[in-house]
Subunit: 578 residues, 2 copies
């Protein structure tokens, strides 16, 4: 195992030249400008002081650049993970206390450790158990929760709670205390940002800019909103009129911090950390894959786990909170021409400079502006079309999505995503436990066997053939037993039962024991059990057991062989059946 | 829905005649004789007073006879469920206290309610998720735990704990206080019962009895052991020498009792009750099915749930504890000729007479004798051959069984069976998430396509065909994406990828979205995606979506069609490839 397995830097560093450096530097400047207001805003969303957002965008980015495999992924605080952080940490400590910030560090450390463990054990596949509909439902519901949580900042009243009813109730109660200057600033910023997102890019394109350039400039809209509203607050002294501002932010590089590793805190944060890890990983890896595929590159999901794990560990020890790869900023990074992970490292440098030099400038930045950037960003996550798609494709999927959305809104992010995973896995298991089985007959004039309910096929009154369209395993073993024995109880004249196994991809030990039990019970009743078209790998396993020796009937290579051997008189019987 | 759906009595009652009555009565007498010592012993195992065992064999049996569907199943206290009761109730109250007996009633009520709910919702399928290897491992480990727990009674010292290390440690500490008369009685009874089980039946057969009669008489061995050791204790006044006896047992019919429904107790007992319900149901239904099949009868698993639920509810309100269908006694009932559930009702009558009239006779019955009957009965449950079978068939199954046995012994029944279920379901999901996929080529001179690693097949350098041997669902959707995109990254010359779907039994919404993503990414790279041999039900679903419109390639009816259309030049190219 080469050292580059865990430290992929050399792979790209060897070919690093001046032109790559130029491309990476340009992308880093653009992403830095975009990331500053985002970092502050997501720290606010997580219930943390603004500098935590900047710190979470320095060390983690560098560590991801060292260990990750995506050339374009931009790591840092993101909306959904920040919301999940607020929900998890809020159960351990009150916002604004030292315990709260420390719990956020612990959450990042736990999540980092879990991601590293999954990566080192090459267990990236666990993320596969988050189905697309569950993710889509969860992200949509989270977007709504995030928007609701930020509405308070827009009108200058505090919003508490981690579920939609709680948030709306506290918003409603706070409505009479609305602060007018805050509302004006907030509404203005929101309207401006919506316009930037929708109209500005088009105007810029008409003015002759390329689509890419126009989109990138439009992404910098939040910076303009920040600058203008900050200037307004400073110029009109709106802070005195009750407009909440970011305030004093230390002018410093990230501090060295230690997470709280007391067992009670770890126990309380373990499940949220797992959910954050999985959600963050899935989000990140799908962005990274999308961008890699555009350049015919590949990413390695298990190394991505290590990269994200290292990034979160870094966040835990440098005053941050859980981070992951962000969609919007990675796309900007990619479009701006980032070619290697070094672009990320340069971005970290840019943010570090901001943390050292620019923090006095944001003293008067109104929180309403940050809330506006969050609201505009997350509303693009809200997409109910998954409900329509799921309903059309499969009602069961629809119920899973609907339950995920409803539970997330009503009971919070942890309950929502857990329930979604359990529901979708349970649904899959339930379906697997009720395999599709067709009683088949011979299509006259051919060697094909088809479902007797769908086709006009020849049958034999003493020979019953079932085609099983599913692997046989413990949860459906009894189903087959019930089916065969039930059929026999109804048709005592049957002498032979054939199981056509062309679609049986596996038979586990429980299913084998069921087959033995079925065979035993059938022999007790003088009925023989046969198999046909058993797949190679399945046959290999069966040959290692005594099942084939004891089998009352035979194993036929093809179903047609079985028909010929067992229904020799069938062709003569056929006219009578017509 | 006819009333007979839940109350099946009329079905057999209509045809009830004198000869059936005679057969049922004879079976009832035999089962009653066998059930009396068993009931007392399993009450002891559950940590309850002996009369609880008798009470658990009266009302529950009558209720099962009314609602169950098996003609032979004998319901009452059984070893594994009694052990699980002791483990669960021991966490709520100390043995011998009123709270302990009440908690046992609560456990029976909870279990009854769960079984009834599962039956009414027709959710008997949940029991299918207990795989054969997990059950086999769990029963074997439980047998060892039960034997260990009874060894103390055999030497006259108390054994505490619910795990093997705890029990062995307390046994070791108690060893110096061994009571010699108890040890002699216990060892004698154990040796006698082993001999009865092994040798007596053969001797009786040699003496001219039929095998059935010999086996039934041998089953009455415990009654003889009870009679002789009781007489010894009474005659030699061994109680004064420290031999623990059953003591005062009230001479009464079952009392009316009420379970404790305080939320804290219900919460503590909910998981154990669920496990007891599932284990009890699985045990019971497999016995019932085996016996029904011998007479070409059928049982209805969902009505069995209702029958067992009613029985446990009955136990809760009549001084009992959780019950289920016992294997040994049901076989005796069947062999003795029981024809209808009325045999069960008559057995209940027999036990009721015993509870009213015979309890003074068992005052001097030594607990060591009861422990001996339990040890001899449960050691037949211990069967490590499942380990060898599982190892041979599939190492993964072996690890599941081994973990179930080890965890049950080391951490008790609840941890053991829960871990077994989670492991086996997890293993299934893991396998399902890594489908078998083969790259296939044309077998020359045929229309068949086979795995290129196993067969000498014709290939085309620009067309890659994968045969997928698994339903596509969310957990393996990403696997397919990785596979296809990885292949393409390695072979940039490829222009067409065909997915051969002959063994794809289903495609869920996540997998559909993955297919769309794969198609999109392939088109971005100028590669077309095709499908072949899509099954009817899957095709029906796909037709309801936009996938087929947007698909860059085509859907071919057969893989050979795809080959002909895409590899038209293949036959010319072939010689060059050789």
């Amino acid at each position: 195992m080469s050292p580059s397995r865990f430290l992929p830097v050399p792979a790209w560093a060897r070919h690093y030249d001046r032109s790559t450096l130029g491309a990476d530097l340009l992308a880093a400047v653009i992403v830095t400008i975009m990331l500053i207001p985002q970092s502050l805003a997501y720290a606010l969303l997580a219930g943390l002081p603004p500098e935590a957002g900047l710190y979470a965008s320095i060390v983690p980015i560098i560590l991801y650049a060292l260990f990750g495999t995506s050339n374009a992924l931009a790591v840092g605080p993101v909306a959904v993970v920040s919301l999940m952080t607020a929900a998890a940490v809020g159960n351990v400590a009150a916002s604004g206390t030292m315990g709260y910030a420390t719990a956020a560090l612990t959450l990042a450390a736990l999540s980092g450790a879990m991601l590293l463990a999954l990566g080192l054990l090459r267990m990236g596949f666990v993320a596969n158990f988050l189905s697309h509909p569950v993710i889509a439902g969860f992200i949509t519901a989270s977007g709504l929760l995030i928007a609701a949580s930020q509405l308070g900042h827009l009108i200058g009243v505090p919003v508490s709670g981690h579920t939609l009813p709680e948030m709306l109730a506290s918003l409603w109660n706070g409505l009479p205390e609305t602060n007018l200057p805050t509302l004006l600033l907030g509404a203005g910023a929101t309207a401006f940002l919506f316009w930037v997102r929708g109209g500005l890019a088009k105007i810029l394109q008409k003015a002759g800019l390329s689509q890419k350039a126009a989109t990138i400039i439009a992404r910098a809209g939040p910076v303009l909103a920040v600058a203008v509203t900050t200037a307004l607050v400073a110029g009109l002294d709106l802070e005195a009129q009750g407009v909440a501002v970011v305030g004093e932010v230390p002018q410093a590089l990230p501090p060295f911090t230690l997470p709280d590793v007391s067992p009670s805190v770890l126990a309380q944060l373990a499940l949220p950390a797992l959910l954050i890890s999985i959600i963050g990983f899935v989000e990140s890896v799908s962005v990274a894959q999308t961008l890699a595929a555009r350049r015919r590159e590949r990413i390695d999901p298990n190394r991505e786990l290590i990269g994200l794990g290292a990034a979160n560990m870094g966040a835990a020890f440098s005053g941050g909170f859980p981070v992951t790869g962000g969609f919007a900023r990675s796309v900007v990074n990619f479009d701006a021409g980032a070619r290697t992970p070094a672009a990320g490292a340069f971005t970290a440098g840019g943010i570090a400079i901001a943390a050292l030099a620019l923090t006095p400038l944001i003293h008067d930045l109104p929180k309403a502006t940050l809330a506006a950037t969050i609201i505009v960003a997350v509303l693009s996550l809200v997409d109910f079309s998954i409900l329509r798609r799921a309903w059309r494709y499969d009602h069961a999927d629809f119920y899973t999505v609907a339950a995920t959305i409803a539970l997330t809104l009503l009971f919070g992010v942890e309950v929502g995503v857990s329930a979604g995973v359990l529901l979708s896995v349970g649904l899959h298991l339930w379906r697997n436990s009720r395999p599709h089985v067709a009683e088949v007959g011979l299509v006259p004039g051919t060697q094909h066997f088809r479902n007797l309910n769908r086709h006009d096929v020849a049958l034999h009154d003493k020979v019953v053939t079932y085609r099983i369209d599913e692997a046989l395993w413990f949860a459906n073993a009894r189903f087959l037993e019930d089916l065969v024995l039930g059929r026999l109880a109804r048709s005592p004249e049957v002498t032979d039962i054939v199981l056509m196994c062309s679609a049986v991809n596996a038979i586990d030990l429980s299913a084998l024991e069921s087959l033995e039990a079925i065979d035993k019970r059938l022999s007790d009743q003088g009925v023989r059990l046969h198999l046909s078209e058993v797949k190679g790998p399945v046959m290999d396993r069966l040959k290692g057991t005594h099942f084939l020796e004891h089998l009352s009937g035979r194993v036929f290579l093809s179903q047609f062989d079985a028909w010929c051997a067992l229904c020799g008189s069938a062709k003569r019987a056929e006219p009578a059946a017509e």
